[in-house]
C-alpha cells in the first residue's frame, strides 16, 4: 500500500476532528457560561456551588484570554468552512435593523470587556474600544452564521451508501419478480405432473382389480406405464415447451446465482462500510469527548485554584526574588488584610521580619543586615479574631535568595581605585545589579 494512501484518511480524520472542535468548544463554553450566569442571577436562593467555584470565579483577565482563544478557534473554523465553500465571507451582513442594533451593542460590550481586562493604559481606553468594536462588529455576522450551523458532512459521508443502495434495491426488485415467476411455473408444473401420476395410478389400480394379476407383475406393469407416459409426455407432447422452459429456467438460475452473489457482495460492502463508519465516528466522538472533558477539567481546576488563592492568605510573587542585604523586597498576593493584631507578622527562617509597609495585597520590607547569605523562606502568620480560640492562619511559603552585597555593589576601596580592572569589575557589578536587582544605579 502506498504511504500517502494510508496517511491521507488519517490526516482527513484529524482535520475533521479539529474542524468539529472549532465549532463545538465555543458552543459548549458559551452555553455553559450563559447557563451559569442565568442560574446565578435568576435563583440567588439556590446557588450552584460548582459553577460559583469554577467558571464564575474566573477573573476578568482569565475570561478575556479564554474568549480570545475561542475567537481564534472560531476564525480557524470559519476559514476551514470557507476553504470548502460552505460559508460565504460577506462583511456587514445583517438582515434587519434590530440585528444591527443588538450586534453593535454586543460588539461595544465585548470590546469594552477586553480592553478593561487586558489593556494597561487606562487613559487611552476609548481608542482600542472603538477599534475593537468595529472589528467585532465586522466579524459578528460570520461568527453567528458559523455557530448556528453545524457541518456534519463527514458523518454523512461515512454512513451514506445512497447511490449504490438505490441500484441494489432496483436489482433486488427485478430479481424478486423473476424468482416469483420461476416459482409460479415450477408449482404449476409440479401440480400438473402430480395430477397426471395420480390419474395413471388410479387407472392402474382399477386395471389390477379387473385383471387380478399378482403384485410383482402389477408393479412392473405400473412402472412401465408410468415410464411410457413420461416419455410420451416429455418427448412428444411437451418436448418443445420443456426445452424452452429448461432454457429459461437455466438462464434464470444463472441470473439468480449471479444476483445472490452480487447481493452478498453488496451486503458485505454495506456491513464493512457501516462498521468502518461507526468505528470512525465512535473514535471521533471519543477523541472529542476526551478533549472536551480534559479542557473542562483543567479549566475548572484552574478556576478553583485561583478562587482558593483569592480566599486564603497567599503570596504569589516576591520582587526581587534574588537580592542582597539592606535591599527593599516586595511580597504580592491576596488577603494580607490590615495589621490589626500585634501577632500578625511576616516570618522568615531567621525569625520575624520588620515590615515597612503592610497592605491588603502587598507587604514591603528591608532585608535585615544580620541575615545570612543563602536562600531564606518567608511566610505570613495572622491571627483570625473571628475564629474560635483565635486560630493562627499561615500563608504559603516563598523563597528569597540572598547574595553577598559586594557581588552587586563596589566596596569603598574599589571605588577609590582608578585602574582599568577596577572599572571592569564595577561594570560587571552594574550588569549584575541590572539583571538581578533591576536597579543599575546606587540607591
Amino acid at each position: 500500500m502506498n504511504l500517502s494512501e494510508f496517511t491521507k484518511p488519517i490526516a482527513v480524520f484529524f482535520y475533521e476532528i479539529i474542524k468539529f472542535l472549532c465549532w463545538l468548544l465555543p458552543i459548549i463554553f458559551f452555553s455553559y457560561l450563559s447557563l451559569s450566569f442565568l442560574l446565578y442571577f435568576l435563583f440567588p436562593d439556590f446557588p450552584i456551588d460548582f459553577s460559583a467555584k469554577t467558571i464564575l470565579s474566573l477573573t476578568s483577565d482569565d475570561l478575556a484570554l479564554i474568549l480570545i482563544i475561542l475567537f481564534f478557534l472560531t476564525i480557524l473554523g470559519i476559514y476551514f468552512r470557507y476553504r470548502e465553500n460552505k460559508i460565504k465571507i460577506n462583511f456587514m451582513r445583517f438582515d434587519s435593523k434590530s440585528e444591527v442594533v443588538v450586534a453593535l451593542v454586543t460588539s461595544f460590550f465585548f470590546s469594552t470587556f477586553l480592553v478593561k481586562s487586558l489593556f494597561v493604559l487606562k487613559n487611552f481606553e476609548f481608542i482600542p474600544i472603538v477599534i475593537f468594536t468595529f472589528i467585532i462588529f465586522l466579524f459578528l455576522p460570520h461568527l453567528i452564521s458559523f455557530y448556528s450551523s453545524v457541518d456534519l458532512s463527514f458523518f454523512k459521508k461515512n454512513l451514506n451508501l445512497s447511490e449504490e443502495k438505490n441500484t441494489f434495491i432496483n436489482e433486488i426488485k427485478n430479481y424478486l419478480k423473476s424468482l416469483v415467476k420461476i416459482l409460479k411455473i415450477i408449482i404449476v408444473k409440479l401440480v400438473w405432473l402430480s395430477l397426471s401420476v395420480f390419474i395413471i395410478l388410479l387407472f392402474a389400480s382399477i386395471l389390477k382389480n379387473f385383471l387380478s394379476v399378482d403384485q410383482l407383475k402389477m408393479a412392473a406393469f405400473l412402472l412401465l406405464i408410468l415410464f411410457i407416459f413420461l416419455i410420451i409426455k416429455f418427448t412428444l407432447v411437451y418436448q418443445a415447451k420443456f426445452l424452452a422452459y429448461q432454457r429459461k429456467l437455466k438462464n434464470n438460475l444463472i441470473e439468480l446465482i449471479q444476483f445472490f452473489y452480487n447481493l452478498s457482495a453488496f451486503l458485505w460492502r454495506l456491513i464493512k462500510k457501516t462498521v468502518m463508519g461507526f468505528t470512525i465516528i465512535s473514535l471521533f466522538a471519543i477523541i472529542v469527548i476526551v478533549v472536551i472533558t480534559f479542557l473542562t477539567r483543567e479549566l475548572n481546576k484552574y478556576a478553583n485554584y485561583q478562587r482558593r488563592l483569592r480566599e486564603n492568605i497567599t503570596i504569589i510573587l516576591i520582587d526581587p526574588s534574588v537580592t542582597t542585604l539592606a535591599q527593599k523586597v516586595s511580597l504580592k498576593g491576596y488577603n494580607f488584610g490590615w495589621r490589626v493584631n500585634k501577632r500578625d507578622r511576616l516570618v522568615s527562617d531567621n525569625g520575624p521580619v520588620v515590615v515597612d509597609e503592610w497592605k491588603e495585597e502587598e507587604i514591603i520590607f528591608t532585608v535585615p543586615l544580620h541575615w545570612k547569605e543563602r536562600s531564606t523562606n518567608l511566610w505570613i502568620e495572622r491571627i483570625k479574631d473571628d475564629m474560635p480560640e483565635k486560630k493562627l492562619l499561615k500563608s504559603n511559603t516563598i523563597s528569597l535568595k540572598i547574595l553577598s552585597r559586594w557581588d552587586f555593589f563596589p566596596a569603598e576601596a574599589e571605588l577609590k581605585r582608578k585602574d582599568p580592572f577596577s572599572y571592569l569589575m564595577r561594570a560587571v557589578k552594574k550588569i549584575r545589579r541590572t539583571l538581578f536587582l533591576k536597579k543599575p544605579y546606587f540607591p
Binding site: F41, D95, A103, V105, F108, T112, F113, S148
Partner: protein, 178 residues
C-alpha cells in the same frame, strides 16, 4: 395520560411541601410545581402559539431563528462579562441584579420580534413564580421574579402601544390611498 401524570405530580408536590421545606429539593419542587400548574392551564400551548404567530408575522425561518438565538445568547454573555470587568459603568452602575437580567434578555426579546402578547405571557409565567417563591419564603428569588414581571409587563405595554400606533398609521395611509 399526561393529564394524569401532572395531576399526580401536583398532588405529590403539595404533600411534599411540608416535608422538604428548607432543603434544596424543595426549591426544585416549587419550580416543578409551578411548571406543572402552567402545563395544566395550557400555558405553554398558548405561548408556543403566540411565538409561532410572531415568527409567521415577521417571516422568520428556522435558520433565522437559530441565528437570532445565537446573537441573543452572545449579547446575554456580553452584558455579564462587561459588568464583571467593571466596564460601561454609566449604564450598569445603577442596575440591580433583576434589571441586569432583564437587560441581558432584552436582546433576545428584540431579536425574536416578540409581540406584546408573548411578552405579557412571559410576564404571567414570571408572576406565577414570584407568587410561589414569596409564599415559600425564597425572598431574593421572589424579588428577582417580581422585578422581571414588572419589566416584562412594561415591555408588553410599550409594544402594545407601538403596535397600536403602527396599526393606526397603516389605517391612515390606506384611507389616504382610497
Amino acid at each position: 395520560m399526561p393529564k394524569i401524570f401532572y395531576f399526580i405530580l401536583l398532588i405529590v408536590s403539595f404533600n411534599l411541601v411540608r416535608l422538604l421545606k428548607e432543603s434544596p429539593p424543595f426549591f426544585l419542587l416549587v419550580i416543578l410545581f409551578v411548571f406543572a400548574l402552567m402545563v395544566q392551564v395550557k400555558y405553554f400551548e398558548k405561548l408556543t402559539f403566540s411565538i409561532r404567530r410572531d415568527f409567521e408575522k415577521h417571516h422568520l425561518g428556522k435558520s433565522d431563528f437559530r441565528k437570532r438565538l445565537v446573537l441573543g445568547l452572545i449579547f446575554f454573555i456580553a452584558v455579564f462579562v462587561v459588568r464583571k470587568a467593571g466596564g460601561v459603568g454609566w449604564l450598569f452602575g445603577s442596575f440591580d441584579e433583576a434589571t441586569l437580567l432583564f437587560f441581558s434578555l432584552l436582546g433576545l426579546l428584540i431579536l425574536l420580534q416578540t409581540s406584546s402578547l408573548t411578552s405579557a405571557l412571559l410576564a404571567v409565567a414570571a408572576i406565577s413564580y414570584t407568587a410561589f417563591f414569596i409564599i415559600y419564603k425564597f425572598d431574593k428569588t421572589g424579588e428577582i421574579f417580581a422585578s422581571l414581571t414588572f419589566f416584562l409587563f412594561t415591555w408588553a405595554s410599550l409594544q402594545a402601544l407601538r403596535e397600536k400606533l403602527l396599526a393606526d398609521q397603516a389605517k391612515k395611509s390606506s384611507a389616504f390611498d382610497i
